[in-house]
Symmetry: C2
Subunit: 202 residues, 2 copies
Amino acid sequence: MTRFTKDDILQLEKQLRTNLINSLPGVRQANLIGTVSQQGEFNVAIFNSVMHIGAHPPYMGFMMRPVSVRRDTYLNIKSSGYFSINHVNRQMLQQAHQTSARYDYSEFEATGLTAEQSYLHPAPYVRESQVNIGLKFVEEKLIECNQTVLLIGEVIEIVIKDDLLSEDFIVQSAKEEAVAVNGLETYYAVSKLMQLPYAKPV
Amino acid sequence: MTRFTKDDILQLEKQLRTNLINSLPGVRQANLIGTVSQQGEFNVAIFNSVMHIGAHPPYMGFMMRPVSVRRDTYLNIKSSGYFSINHVNRQMLQQAHQTSARYDYSEFEATGLTAEQSYLHPAPYVRESQVNIGLKFVEEKLIECNQTVLLIGEVIEIVIKDDLLSEDFIVQSAKEEAVAVNGLETYYAVSKLMQLPYAKPV
């Protein structure tokens, strides 16, 4: 086993420390967050931090880095009140990754991903995704220890490719060819291992 | 495409709605959180909500359901000030899943997982995991819209199986045979697709 104490971690070269700490939580679904600016321009950016907040009522959230520099996604959510979450699959992976580059125009135009509009809210969906979720912004939490921000929305629409839900309404990630990511750049495919029953003491 | 509006979602049978909303964020690494009670008893429970908070200094967090009912993990973190995060791999999956059953004694004893102690903090590691992370509790955030809680800790120790880090210090999830989960019970294996370079405008 290799062991790192806090001092060992703090003394690591910065890029190595970033890689190590970013990959410690393990794999997570890659998602694209879609937003619209006050000028009506569509923005889309890749995130690995989308999370479940609650099912009744349905809430989801994601973490943003400190907003001390300009963050279009954050500004657009605050000004428009809405955002979308769109799953990344294998077919669109390179385009999705490319949204993390710094463009001074829409990432849709830059990457060739296709924006699609909903009748229910102004945030763009990504047509190439097989799961699109529309959310209304409801709450933000500033994390005091490092100024990151947790943004939370209420799910107001779900658009999902036919046959992607199981009989018991679980999104079938392997069938979707969903892509997971560990850290910021190492991408993984997933294959179903097993579905285990609700655990009871034996 | 199948489309659910907010009304459609609210009218779903409760278990179907739970399944749907829980699986919307996509796959996430399965992790075991280890804690110790004031009486010195070791607790371990499976979570799918472990997240990266920051790398400099290194912080990680996870979401807990409302603490309106007794939550040992929460109480133990608040009383002891420490917790551990331990990756789930294929070899230990069934035992890890079984920690979600309600036991009135230690889940280590109930499931056969092995507790291991650190010299640096009192929270137990899970020996069967190939990545163990020791954290000092630093902050909690109550999510007002549904009373869930985000708990954050500072990474004070990492114990990782030899050869599991790449040359650039990224945890190799496929080599680890890391297990991801979508929702609460559908488990996935991961296989590496590609590592993409830091994206720049083209």
